[in-house]
Symmetry: C2
Subunit: 353 residues, 2 copies
C-alpha cells in the first residue's frame, strides 16, 4: 500500500496479447471483439470479453492511432486566456460536442506571444490530433497549410490560410449597439477599442456605418484605441475622456473586459460628472444585470460558437465534409438592461445645439 517500487515504477497495463493468451485465442480475434465483435462466434467472444474484464484490459489509444490513416481521436483547442469567460465558454461547449463523439480535447499551452502560439500549435500537431480549433493570434498562419490536419478558426479568421471559420457578426453587433444609442438621441458616442484584433475592427466598422446611416459624423477624438485589452486600460481611458471639456454622452465598449473598466471608472468618477453617459458593451457577462445600473450589451450565443466549431471540425476530420472552407456567422442581439437606455442629459444637449 504505502510501499514504493523504485525498481518497478510502472504497473504495465495488460495488452491484447495478454487477453488473447488468457482467453486461449489469437490476437486477431481479440481485436475483432474489441472493435465491435463482428464475425466472431458468440462463445469465443464471450471468453474474450471475460478475459478482458478479468485483466481490466483497456485498448491503447496511442498504439491504435499509430496505424496509417487512422488519426487519433482527439482535437486540439488553442486559445488565449481561459480565465476570460468568453474563452471558457468556447472551451466548455466544444468539449461537450467532442466528448459526444468520443473525442478528447487537448489544450495547448498558449502564452501571450505570437511565437508561443505557433509553437503550441506545432506541438499539438506532433501529437497527431485529428483536427485543430484555433482562436488565432495576429501572426501569419500559413505554416498550417501543410500540416495535413483540418483546421477551424474560431471567433476570427487568420491570415495566410483559407480555412473554416466560425464567428459572430461583429459588424452587425457594432452597428446594433450604435444604432441603439443613436436612437436614444446620443450624438457623441465614444468607442473603446482593444488592440486591433480583427473582431474589433469589424465592430468599429459597424459603429461607423450606423453613424453614416443616421447622418451623424463620428468625432474621431472619441474613437479611442487602447494600448491593452484589459479593464485597467479601459478604466483609465474612460476617466480621461469623461473629464474632457466636451465629454461623450454615451460609450460603446467593444469587449467584456473593457465594459468592466468603463463601469469601474464611471463608478469612481461618480458625482464629478455632470451626467452619467449611457453604456453599451459587446459580449454579455455574468452579473451584468446585478450592477448598480444593469448593463446593456450586444451579445451572441458563444456556446454555439464552440459547438459549431467542434461539429464542423469533427465532420472535416472524419472526411464527411469536403466542401470548400465554410464561413459560419452567428447573429448578435441586443440585451437592454438600463445602462444603454440613458438619454443624453439636457446639459450636453444644450451644448451640442
Amino acid at each position: 500500500m504505502s510501499e514504493t517500487f523504485p525498481t518497478k515504477p510502472e504497473v504495465s497495463r495488460p495488452t491484447m496479447i495478454d487477453v488473447a493468451r488468457r482467453a486461449g485465442v489469437g490476437l486477431g480475434t481479440v481485436s475483432r471483439v474489441v472493435n465491435g465483435g463482428h464475425g466472431v462466434r458468440d462463445e469465443t467472444a464471450q471468453r474474450v470479453r471475460a478475459a478482458i474484464d478479468e485483466l481490466g484490459f483497456q485498448r491503447n489509444e496511442v498504439a491504435r492511432a499509430l496505424r496509417p490513416g487512422k488519426k487519433s481521436t482527439s482535437l486540439a483547442l488553442v486559445l488565449g486566456d481561459l480565465t476570460n469567460p468568453f474563452y471558457a465558454t468556447i472551451a466548455k461547449s466544444s468539449l461537450e460536442i467532442a466528448g459526444q463523439s468520443g473525442f478528447a480535447v487537448v489544450l495547448g499551452s498558449v502564452d501571450e506571444d505570437p511565437e508561443g502560439e505557433k509553437r503550441a500549435i506545432q506541438e499539438l500537431v506532433s501529437r497527431q490530433v485529428a483536427g485543430l480549433m484555433i482562436v488565432p493570434d495576429q501572426g501569419d498562419h500559413a505554416f498550417l497549410e501543410g500540416a495535413g490536419v483540418p483546421v477551424v478558426f474560431v471567433d476570427r479568421p487568420a491570415t495566410g490560410i483559407d480555412a473554416d471559420i466560425v464567428m459572430v457578426d461583429n459588424e452587425g453587433g457594432g452597428r446594433l449597439a450604435t444604432e441603439h444609442l443613436l436612437a436614444q438621441g446620443h450624438e457623441r458616442i465614444a468607442i473603446l477599442l482593444a488592440p486591433s484584433y480583427y473582431t474589433i475592427g469589424r465592430r468599429l466598422r459597424g459603429f461607423r456605418r450606423a453613424h453614416r446611416a443616421a447622418g451623424i459624423d463620428v468625432d474621431e477624438s472619441l474613437v479611442i484605441q487602447l494600448p491593452e485589452g484589459n479593464a485597467e486600460a479601459a478604466e483609465k481611458a474612460t476617466r480621461e475622456v469623461m473629464l474632457r471639456p466636451d465629454p461623450p454622452t454615451a460609450i460603446f465598449a467593444s469587449t467584456n473586459f473593457l465594459t468592466e473598466g468603463v463601469l469601474r471608472a464611471l463608478g469612481e468618477l461618480g458625482s464629478q460628472l455632470k451626467s452619467e453617459p449611457a453604456v453599451v458593451g459587446f459580449d454579455d457577462f455574468r452579473l451584468a444585470d446585478m450592477l448598480p445600473t444593469p448593463v446593456t450589451v450586444v451579445a451572441s450565443d458563444i456556446a454555439e460558437l464552440g459547438r459549431s466549431a467542434a461539429r464542423l471540425l469533427l465532420d472535416r476530420a472524419s472526411g464527411a465534409d469536403t466542401r470548400p472552407p465554410q464561413r459560419i456567422v452567428l447573429p448578435c442581439g441586443l440585451i437592454e438592461r438600463g445602462s444603454g437606455e440613458r438619454p443624453p442629459d439636457s446639459a450636453a444637449k444644450r451644448k451640442a445645439r
Copy 2:
C-alpha cells in the same frame, strides 16, 4: 488551392526515414540528432538538420510514446464546469505549468453524472496520459488504484484511493467567515450549503467551530441545505429564509454561485426587508467589488491550486517524487468589501435580547 482531394484525404507528414534518406544517413542518426544530437559528428548533424528543415519534419509524439515505460507527454485534467471561473482558473494555471515542461493538457469531456466521470477518466487513461489531475465527483475512485498512472486530486479528496491532494483550507475559511460575522455582533447567521461535497462539509464545520468558540448556539433552521449548487437555488432559499418571522441578520454563502443567488434575492426583496443582512461569500469572483454593495468574501489563491497540482503531478510522472501521498493545503484570507461588515440591525438585536 480550392481543389478537393476526395481520394487522398491526408497529406502524410514526413517521417524520420524520409529525413534519413534525404540526408543520406541512417535512421538512428536522425533519431540521435532529433533528441539532443549527442554523439553525432557536427557535419553529419548539420546535414540532418538541413533535411529536417527542408522536409518540415516533426517528430511523431504518438509513436514516441508507444515505447514501453516512456509515457506520453500530456497530462489529463478532469473537472466540472469550465464556465465556473473557479474551474477555469485551475485549468488555466495548471496548463501554464504543464506547458512550461512541454506537456499538453487533455481535457476529458465531463458530463454531470458520476458515471460519466469514470468513463472520461478511463478514456483519458487509455490515451496513455502521463498523469491525471482530477477534481473528483462524489463516487468511489478505487478503480484508479490499478491505473498505473499518478493521480493528483484537486480541490477535494476522493474516496477509495490514497493519492496526492491539493486543496484550500475549507474549514479555516468557513471559520474565518463566521468569526468575522460574529465579531460584528451577528448571532443569527444563516449558512447556505451546496449539495454535500466534501468542501462544503468542511466549510460548515468551520462555521460550527466558530460558533462554539464564541459560545453561541447554531440555529439549525438556518443551516440550509440546497438541492442544487446553482444561483437559482440560493436565490430561492434566501428569499424564503429572509421572509421568515425571525430572519437571520447575516448570511454565509458557501460558494461563489450561491453568493450570487443570495445577492440577487436580496436585491429583489429590497425594501420588503426591515434590514439588510450582512453577506460573506466563499471564493472571490469577478465584479464582486462593483456590486451595489461590494461583497466581502473568504478567498484563496485558486491559480496556485492549479499550479501546485500540475507541479506535483509532473514530479510524480517523472519519478522525481516518490514520497508517500502528499496533502497540500492552501490558506484562505478574508477580503472585506462592505457586505460582510454590516452590523445586525437594531430591530433584530432587540428581538434577540
